[in-house]
């Protein structure tokens, strides 16, 4: 049975009076890919930062492999995850140096870095760019470099924030196809946040719908698409045929 990698319990993130995230429970299991979709400002990136132990929630608990995240163990637990933020955020160095950065920070020696990194550069189609300065890359190449930087760490939990944002259609399509092959090979549990249902459906085993910081529904793709729990979810997952209806109990029918 698949083990829970990360779990949230009654997590809230508040900025002053505004609650930007309010998630009573959320679990991600071994080797599964969960996509969380939502409009801009729905709290997706905040959710990802909380899951990646990059932001402490205002209240609630985050469990990583059943171990509660606390300031004392946060760094050690965070090193078992890898986050890829929305922009590639590469350093002013070569593609190889950028992709190797996470391993270098962990003190992995040069030969091991090369042995581990080369297959990922090849899988992501950027091996030929290894010596190129990162600032000369196209958007798609930079995005692939940032993905290689995270995947080479072989994390237990991989968090991807809008991995296809700001890419042109061909680059986006090509990266989507590559990720469909690459993500299952990584063995990591993956959480992707996106506003695009098509990307989410193409990659994920389960989909969650987030709106105004609340997780409205989470479940297998078919379930969310065919049985949205509310009109808001139905609108977001683009259910075309929506009809207003009133639900009545059998007793009220008899009274009529």
């Amino acid at each position: 049975m698949a083990q829970c990698v990360v779990a949230l319990g009654n997590v809230q993130v508040r900025y002053g009076a505004a609650t930007v995230l309010d998630v009573p429970s959320f679990d991600v299991f071994d080797s599964e890919i969960v996509a969380v979709i939502g409009a801009n400002g729905s709290g997706k990136s905040t959710l990802l930062r909380v899951l990646g132990l990059l932001q402490q929630p205002t209240c609630g608990k985050v469990y990583f492999r059943s171990e509660m995240a606390k300031p004392a163990n946060c760094f050690a637990l965070r090193r078992r995850t890898a986050s890829v933020l929305q922009a590639p955020l590469l350093l002013d160095s070569t593609v190889y140096a950028n992709a190797a950065l996470g391993l270098k920070l962990r003190g992995v020696d040069r030969e091991q870095i090369e042995a581990r990194l080369q297959p990922w550069l090849e899988r992501l189609g950027i091996a030929h760019l290894a010596a190129r300065p990162a600032r000369t890359l196209s958007g798609g190449e930079a995005r692939r470099t940032s993905l290689a930087r995270a995947l080479v760490l072989e994390p237990e939990l991989l968090l991807l924030d809008e991995p296809f944002s700001a890419l042109d259609a061909p680059s986006r399509e090509a990266l989507l196809v590559d990720l469909q092959h690459v993500l299952p090979q990584s063995q990591a549990a993956v959480v992707i946040v996106t506003h695009d249902l098509y990307e989410a459906a193409a990659l994920a085993d389960r989909i969650g719908v987030l709106s105004q910081g609340k997780l409205l529904q989470i479940g297998p793709i078919e379930e969310v698409l065919t049985s949205p729990v509310s009109k808001e979810v139905a609108v977001f997952v683009a259910v075309q045929n929506r009809m207003s209806a009133e639900r009545r109990s059998p007793r009220s029918r008899r009274r009529r």
């Binding site: 990059l54 965070r78 995850t81 933020l85 922009a87 955020l89 350093l91 002013d92 920070l105 300065p133």
Partner: protein, 237 residues
């Protein structure tokens, strides 16, 4: 024009002939301003980083004080350091007045806000998500700060240049706390003032020329490091 030409020739003559006093003055200037810049970097860079990355009560006030300090008049710094170090002053027991150490102290007060202010501005101009991204691939907080420093190395080198340039060229504070004592606290700027006062314009110009050369050599070296591998802007027709 002739005066300037004579001054340049005199400078070359003084340096080539190995004039001991000129070399001593030049070396002392570099030592004092170099030490002051180094101390300013050690104090100013961490403070600048702290002000840019951390939030704490009074942060705005400290930042405003640092920014004000970037334009401190050296002569006012000299005045207050003199009062502090004067025999009857609160730090008079240290017996530092008219010593190179007093000059270093005054120059640190001048250069430290420049370094701290420029470091703060440099770090604030970096993408805040970069720090988060570095933590997200497993950097410790210390590693994150070090990587941000490396990323900001070009403007940080500008802070070094501005700090050193500010102190090696100041005269007011050095004169007031150093006293321009021959062989002990006489530096290029104070010696230039002295020679000008005496009417020895060719020697004054020679000293000024040496000062400019020292600044140029150091800045050429730092600029070379700074501009190596910089992003090329596209040429605009």
């Amino acid at each position: 024009m002739e005066l300037i030409w004579h001054g340049i020739l005199k400078a070359v003559e003084l340096l080539v002939s190995g004039d001991t006093e000129v070399w001593k003055i030049t070396w002392l200037s570099v030592k004092i301003s170099g030490a002051a810049t180094l101390i300013s970097l050690l104090l100013g860079i961490p403070l600048g980083i702290g002000l840019a990355l951390m939030r704490f009560p009074g942060r705005g006030l400290v930042a405003a004080l640092i920014n004000t300090g970037m334009g401190l008049p050296p002569v006012v710094v000299g005045l207050f350091i003199s009062i502090l170090l004067w025999r009857s002053g609160p730090l008079g027991f240290l017996e530092l007045i008219y010593t190179p150490q007093a000059m270093i102290l005054a120059q640190v007060v001048i250069a430290f806000p420049i370094v701290a202010g420029l470091t703060m501005a440099t770090f604030q101009s970096l993408d805040p998500n970069l720090a988060l991204q570095l933590l997200g691939i497993g950097a410790s907080k210390r590693q994150m700060v070090w990587l941000l420093c490396k990323e900001a190395r070009l403007p940080l080198l500008a802070a070094v240049m501005a700090g050193f340039g500010g102190v090696i060229s100041e005269v007011g504070a050095s004169m007031m706390v150093g006293g321009n004592i021959r062989g002990q606290t006489r530096v290029l700027t104070t010696a230039t003032v002295l020679e000008t006062g005496r009417g020895d314009f060719d020697v004054a110009i020679a000293l000024g020329f040496i000062l400019l050369t020292v600044c140029f050599v150091l800045n050429y070296f730092l600029t070379h490091i700074q501009q190596r591998g910089r992003t090329q802007w596209p040429s605009v027709s």
